[in-house]
Symmetry: C2
Subunit: 198 residues, 2 copies
């Protein structure tokens, strides 16, 4: 409907995740009406990220060097690996300040419908780390949904023969939540995982 | 939380309208994982739109030339002007195929709280069109909300001394809607604007 460049921009924006046709139009007009300098900063942020950002050769996290900040940090415990699906999950765990080991980013979870099996994930890289590094515990922190649980089960089955301590993040009631509104699976898990207070 | 370029991209994306911190992160990772060519197309679409797209010197609509497609089109009725708030509204009216005249884009609506008065809108440009062109009817198609109504009232008061036929789009029940769910103002307007069928 629009003339050339505006329509092209709307089309490109509409391909981004979570951006429908209406938002794409709204963002396109925001870009049109914004300060040219701000918008060239946005355009160059996109280009720069594609040029500079790579994936850590050790853990698969995003980085601008060969290995990421966390893998390079000598203060991190090298005997523990927290296995997550995505780089975003690394940030989520880091925010808790509960974990001082290193990570392994799988790049997704097992999802047969989407055609993602173990070979599409960075599981081979995890195994080679286990033979190279002295790992004592692997914490599986994949998402607590169908795909994440399937991936956790697959990893446990593969790792338990190696004599490494494999753990999984606790499932249970979210802090600040209402017991009444918890779904039955979560509440069931909270019962199974109940802890002694005495 | 992220290293340099990724965080910069998330920050820039987070400034776009309707993009919160979580969506900005999601879009940034989508960009990271996408084909570099697709993403350089997105970046250049942003740059191109800022370089090429201007506002029509006659009506204020977006265009890549001095005047827009519609103002240049000799088949459009030059005696009718449809006054809208934004370029997006031009597209919305065009989609109806109900109007074959030309447009005037105000660039917003009167909104004292946001500091937008008549001087911030392209009302002076509209008045100069009325003295230059032979206009017979002005259709006011500002949004049917507080700001749009205020703008319509202001325009009507200013234009009625000039002897031009000024009309406003009908308010009433949206087609395909339920009478039961119509708000009382809309239903009231539908009564006021009822039409004889005999």
């Amino acid at each position: 409907m629009y003339e050339g460049a505006v329509q092209e921009l709307i089309d490109e924006l509409g391909r981004l995740p979570g951006v429908g046709p209406k938002s794409a139009q709204r963002i396109a007009f925001h870009i049109l009406e914004s300060d040219p300098e701000d918008m060239s900063r946005l355009a160059s942020a996109i280009t720069t990220v594609k040029e500079k950002v790579k994936f850590c050769q050790v853990c698969g996290n995003v980085t601008e060097q060969e290995t990421c900040n966390i893998c390079r940090d000598p203060r991190r415990d090298p005997t523990m690996i927290c296995v997550v699906e995505e780089s975003k999950d690394v940030i989520a765990v880091e925010r808790t300040r509960s974990f001082r080991g290193r990570y392994h980013v799988l790049g997704g979870a097992i999802n047969p419908i989407a055609g993602i099996g173990p070979d599409q994930l960075r599981i081979r890289e995890l195994l080679s780390r286990l033979s190279d590094e002295k790992i004592e515990e692997i914490i599986i922190a994949t998402d607590p949904n169908l795909e994440g649980e399937a991936t956790a089960t697959y990893l446990v089955r593969m790792l338990k023969t190696l004599g490494i301590n494999v753990t999984r993040l606790a499932s249970g009631l979210p802090v600040g939540g209402d017991l009444e509104y918890a779904d039955e699976i979560t509440l069931g898990r909270a019962f199974e995982g109940r802890r002694s207070l005495t």
